[in-house]
Assembly symmetry: C2
Homo-oligomer: 146 residues x 2
DNA sequence: TAGTTTATGATATTCATTTTCAATTGTCAA
DNA sequence: TTGACAATTGAAAATGAATATCATAAACTA
């Protein structure tokens, strides 16, 4: 079963309808797997394919996609929601955000085992998800030519 | 030199004036070291001591305090800025946020050495700060009596 | 204390997001 | 294929946190 089939399934499962709008929004997100687009950036891209769409529909759909686990909501402290396609089951990557140019670099691999173990033991806290961001300077911005 | 003296110094250093409003806001934050108050929560507490204060003053002051390194701005993904007194120089604690009751638990100790080393090496990224949150269930909410 | 500068409070404004609601569309049983 | 009915949509208004504006007030300093 490919991604589109899974998508249709997920919608049907919960009684949601498959609309053109939802299809187009998913397409845009899939075509931008590597990006971390904001709601309005997604709106702008979707409008190229489907100019009649309303902004509210995009916001509504992104919320729905998050509920369905199709998309993951990110917060880069820039005052807007951003989204990425739900990669692998256990969302194991961190984001490095450049304080100068705003570049977002992904860091695969968790490397949080120590920390998570310590938390579960000393704090008796059951971890469901984590959110790890690093702020600093990317290689480009560190070079003296900048 | 105690905390208040340091505070006065920091203001004077940059040409800022010491006003009653700033003093009262600092007091409220110091009296709530263990909390992670939002701007409006701080406003409400400040008004108990100084009812004439304006909301804008509280927002402005919190921004100023962040610039001066008196306070640290937090983002718990609840749509509002939260602040805590700048603890130790290297802001080494993480937050565990309960998905059920909203409790915020602090985790002292970094335990990110592995991860940070890996990033600096493999990504050529200079880390200035990090932001680590864990979402899950606190001990209270895990007990069957809930 | 006077003179200069910074800060304040009230209010208006911004901006992302959400809500409202009448009109439209997808689904599914007949 | 159709009709009934629930879900969805787009336009517009509303919300809510944060910021900007501006006349007045308070702090600093010589
Ligand atoms: Mn990512
Ligand atoms: Mn804390
Ligand atoms: Zn950069
Ligand atoms: Zn809890």
């Amino acid at each position: 079963m490919n991604e589109i089939e899974k998508f249709k399934e997920k919608l049907k499962d919960k009684g949601y309808k498959l609309t053109t709008q939802r299809r187009v929004i998913l397409d845009v997100i899939m075509e931008n797997r590597d990006k971390h687009l904001s709601s309005e950036e997604i709106y702008d891209l979707v409008r190229l394919k489907y100019p009649e769409i309303g902004l509210a529909t995009v916001y509504r759909t992104l919320q729905l996609f998050e509920e369905l686990g199709i998309v993951y909501k990110l917060n880069f402290d820039d005052g807007r929601n951003r989204y990425e396609l739900y990669h692998n089951e256990n969302h194991q990557h961190h984001h490095l955000i450049c304080l100068k140019c705003g570049a977002v670099i992904e860091m695969e691999g968790d490397l949080l085992e120590n920390l998570e173990e310590a938390i579960e033991e000393t704090k008796d806290f059951e971890i469901i998800d984590h959110n790890v961001k690093f702020f600093g300077y990317c290689s480009k911005c560190r070079s003296r030519y900048n």
